[in-house]
């Protein structure tokens, strides 16, 4: 080959002074994160220690912790959280093992069903279980009376009870433990177990000395997550515990916003939740940090499934039987309620009706406004939230600015803020009038009553997960891929556009969908922050509960599920998954 003419190369411009943008960039995003994260929390702290006229006091805490009215919810919350943590562990860990490591038939089906219970909003599950197990009208109790001939006031189940609350929360929390355990087991190379067998260990010895210890961190982490979920959940206890006549911390905080509002007490009650969440998250990362057995490097074969022998089918039967509780029965009840004239009666051909659908979409005046709000917020949050998380994740992963660690910390911090606590914080931050703190007058910034305050809430709540998703997507794109483009003459922006962006596309789409879906089903912050003009779907469903419109609730709930399923399905059709697949093979 002959030498090619060098003159065809474009000679670049002479030395250009490098513009150091890192200062302004850092300042901008740090300011954004402070508004999203620090501000609401700061207001909670200020209000918790304030009297009505702005003085400093600890009276709010005395009122909270000295009063049985507040002590009982605190104890109830802890009982619920501990019970849910244990139940989830007992159910989900064996199930995760069966799916990841055994030759049980229908493993994919079980995984899919667990995902289905994962995507079910807990408050919708709670409503469905009301339809099933309310003492009088519950379908299961009706069936029981029909079968056993028991008296009309007799009931088998009462969902309006502490046990009922624990049961329903567990139904929609166990997937967290399941996913963590199954993923951990998926990642343990089969060779590690084979090595144990080669040294003469029997199956159960290998399980006891290799598999279980390696899974233990994931199980512990899962229990903590379940505990946190149960502790900070608002929807299910609001639906089931209040009719039963007791409160949890979240419902108590919510009740403090009912007329007449007592934001100081709400702030004081929110702080313990916040502190406990932070402590438990620290504990979780300490557990995972010490005992993470991530296996690095090397090529490992797929693990050999453990043979269950005669237990294969019974194991599947047990799994499917368990899935009756979070998936089959509740969905059946919702469909029944949606298409029946009388939601509390089992549907027959003669009672099949589209009355509820018609009522929801054409008679219920709020439906369309609420749908508009929900879509607007979900699309906006998805777009803004993805962009925000993308830029922060990029700056942190590539260490592009000084102080990037702080950005990462701020972006992860909201994970420790329960939705209801954030709701309280935002309410306090954007509702108040002029306030004087330490002699400085702070002007009011009133966003309460607008969609903006909900947007801020959603952005904050979804930031940690989307930041982490995109962070790992960016980690998967080797920095040398960008550098290869730079050295061949592409500017940083061009390298981002032509190399990094296409490789991140599927991660970005996934994150957008994730935020969209999460926003559509979010209740606990919205229930504090909505006004009649800014109602969203989840709040509408919650409100209709008050008026007892179970048919409309079922229709709206099923529609919510249909929307979220459709969005996820559409996202999977978008090209770019291909590029991602190839990148992951590199």
């Amino acid at each position: 080959m002959t030498r090619l003419a060098r003159s065809t190369l474009v000679q670049p411009e002479a030395t250009r002074l490098r513009l150091d943008l890192s200062g302004p960039v850092l300042a901008l995003f740090a300011a954004l994160l402070v508004i999203l994260v620090v501000l609401p929390i700061a207001w909670i702290a200020i209000f918790a220690f304030s009297t009505k006229d702005g003085g400093v006091t600890i009276a709010n805490f005395v009122a909270i912790f000295g009063d049985a009215e507040f002590q009982e919810p605190l104890v109830t919350t802890l009982v619920i959280a501990i019970s849910v943590g244990l139940i989830c562990c007992l159910v989900a860990a064996p199930m995760g093992w069966l799916v990841a490591r055994s030759d049980m038939p229908g493993r994919r089906l079980v995984r899919t069903l667990v995902t289905a219970s994962f995507v079910t909003p807990p408050f919708l599950g709670a409503i469905a279980w009301e339809l099933l197990a309310a003492p009088n009208s519950g379908l299961l109790n009706q069936a029981w009376r029909a079968i056993s001939g028991a008296a009309p006031d007799h009931h088998l189940f009462n969902i309006y009870s502490l046990g009922g609350v624990i049961f329903v929360i567990s139904c929609y929390t166990f997937p967290y433990v399941f996913v963590l355990v199954a993923n951990a087991l998926d990642r343990i190379p089969g060779e590690l177990e084979d090595a144990s067998s080669m040294l003469g260990a029997r199956s159960w010895q290998t399980a006891r000395s290799i598999t279980i210890p390696m899974t233990l961190p994931a199980i512990l982490a899962g229990v903590l997550v379940a505990f946190l979920q149960a502790m900070n959940l608002f929807g299910s206890p609001a639906i089931l515990a209040i009719p039963a006549g007791f409160h949890t911390m979240t419902t108590k905080i919510w009740s403090l916003f009912q007329f007449p509002p007592k934001p100081e007490l709400a702030a004081a009650a929110a702080l313990p939740l916040l502190v406990l969440t932070i402590v438990l998250l620290r504990a979780q990362s300490a557990i995972l940090g010490q005992r993470s057995y991530a296996v690095l490097g090397g090529k490992y074969g797929a693990p050999r499934p453990v043979r269950l022998g005669a237990w294969r089918w019974p194991a599947l039967a047990i799994c499917l039987g368990l899935m009756l509780l979070p998936v089959f029965l509740p969905y059946g009840a919702l469909f029944n309620a949606a298409f029946s004239k009388v939601p509390s009666k089992l549907i027959t051909w003669s009672t099949l009706s589209l009355h509820n659908v018609h009522f929801t979409f054409f008679e219920l005046s709020q439906t369309w406004g609420v749908m508009r709000n929900t879509f607007l917020l979900a699309v906006l949050s998805g777009t803004v939230g993805t962009l925000l998380a993308l830029v922060i994740a990029y700056l942190v992963a590539r260490r592009a600015v000084r102080g990037h660690r702080w950005l990462g910390f701020l972006a992860t911090a909201p994970i420790a803020i329960p939705g209801i606590v954030l709701g309280v914080g935002l309410f306090l931050a954007y509702t108040r009038s002029w306030l004087s703190v330490a002699g400085v007058d702070i002007p009011p910034m009133i966003l309460y009553g607008t969609l903006w305050i909900l947007l801020i809430a959603y952005l904050t709540i979804e930031l940690p997960a989307s930041y982490q998703q995109l962070g790992s997507a960016i980690q998967a794109v080797h920095p040398e891929l960008e550098e290869a483009s730079r050295i061949l003459g592409a500017t940083r922006l061009r390298a981002l556009r032509e190399i990094t962006a296409p490789l991140l596309l599927s991660g970005v789409v996934a994150t957008w969908c994730f935020i969209f879906v999460a926003v559509v089903r979010e209740l606990s912050a919205a229930v504090i922050l909505f006004t009649s003009d800014t109602k969203v779907l989840s709040v509408l469903i919650f409100d209709l509960k008050e008026s007892g419109d179970l048919g409309a609730i079922a229709v709206l709930g099923l529609m919510m599920l249909a929307i979220t399923t459709a969005v996820v399905w559409l996202a999977n059709l978008i090209p770019g998954a291909e590029a991602r697949r190839q990148a992951s093979q590199m």
Binding site: V10, R16, A484
Partner: protein, 354 residues
């Protein structure tokens, strides 16, 4: 084409200097190899040249242009360089041909020229048949050749290579060493090659810079660093020499285990501790005879011998307890435990400066 000059280049990360006052001139069209163990600063030096990081002190000059200094650094895209990465860094969403064409497209060439040049370079790299494949569909060696083609097709002023062969298996690595040398001879691009493998450095480089602890320990032709190491580090790192220690008797002789050994390399200071490097195959091993051994001969006891096929690997322990490693002819077998003489050729005993 241009020479590349590093002047007092220093890069500190916090308190530690990854690159410590490195000065080096790479002549136009030369291939310089930065050779050293991991953590010696060779990759940092390369990334400084590429412009991915800025120096703490010193500067980098290409031709007459200062491209890096603590005050200002030309961004990588304006340096007219190419780089071959350890991971190859092929873009997984582009085919082999698209990867190769990328740099040309950035230079704004028209489609016909791009196509022609891509075709030509793919032929040189023996990749024509694989042009339409994605990187995930290529083997390691093929990916490596695409990466070479992508770097060379833009005809860079300077070509940087960061351990380009470290992800290949042994056979392929040897083949690609000669491939890189062949392409360099053809294009005569000024090139910097980073590696920890001395055989790789020997085959590819015009000049080798042995690096240790962020500094250049020795700079010279492959023959220089191999035959005339200046320091214990270089002697051990290149070609696995024995380093024997003793006290200088006069300007040429060192007492090793009580035996005066004549050396070459530099004038000695009598009375000073001196290290002498002797290569494994430059020691003549013989069973111990009766009487006094001839001059320049050390006594020892064979501790271990292993048949390696083309040679026999011996470890002999001297009277002072130090061990000497010897590559002896394969047919020469001395039973472990028996006494042996080790004759050292004075011409092959290099007194080390450091």
């Amino acid at each position: 084409m241009a020479s590349v000059e590093l002047r007092g280049l220093t890069k500190r990360f916090g308190a530690t200097a990854a690159v410590d006052n490195v000065s080096l001139t790479i002549g136009d069209g030369n291939l310089v190899c930065l050779l050293g163990p991991s953590g010696c600063g060779k990759t940092t030096t390369l990334r400084l040249i590429a412009g991915f990081i800025e120096p703490t002190e010193g500067e980098i000059v290409v031709g007459e242009r200062v491209i890096s200094s603590p005050r200002r650094t030309l961004p990588p895209e304006q340096r007219m360089m190419s780089m071959i990465f350890q991971s190859y860094a092929l873009w997984p969403h582009m085919t082999a041909a698209e990867n190769v064409a990328y740099g040309l497209k950035i230079r704004g060439l028209d489609k016909a020229t791009v196509d022609a040049r891509v075709k030509a370079i793919l032929a040189v790299a023996r990749l024509e048949a694989l042009a339409g494949r994605y990187p995930s569909e290529l083997s390691g060696g093929q990916q490596q050749r695409v990466s070479l083609a992508r770097a060379l097709v833009v005809e860079p002023e300077t070509l940087l290579m960061d351990e380009p062969l470290s992800n290949l298996d042994a056979n392929l690595r040897e083949e690609m060493r000669f491939e890189i040398r062949r392409l360099h001879d053809q294009f005569r691009t000024t090139a910097v090659y980073v590696t920890h493998d001395q055989a790789e450095a020997m085959t590819t480089a015009d000049v080798i810079a042995v690096m240790n602890g962020g500094r250049i320990e020795q700079l010279g032709s492959p023959e220089d660093v191999y035959e005339r190491p200046v320091s214990e580090f270089v002697a051990r790192f290149i070609g696995a020499s024995n380093v024997l220690k003793g006290q200088a008797i006069d300007r040429t002789q060192v007492a090793i285990a009580g035996v005066p050994v004549a050396t070459t390399g530099r004038a000695l200071e009598p009375g000073r501790e001196t290290a002498v490097a002797v290569r494994q195959h430059d020691i003549r091993l013989a069973p111990a005879g009766s009487g006094e051994p001839p001059a320049n001969t050390l006594r020892g006891v064979v501790r271990r011998q292993v048949f390696l096929g083309s040679s026999r690997d011996y470890i002999v322990e001297m009277q002072d307890g130090a061990e000497v490693r010897i590559a002896a002819p394969a047919d020469q077998s001395i039973t472990p435990g028996s006494a042996a003489w080790m004759h050292l050729d004075p011409e092959r005993c290099r007194a080390l400066t450091r």
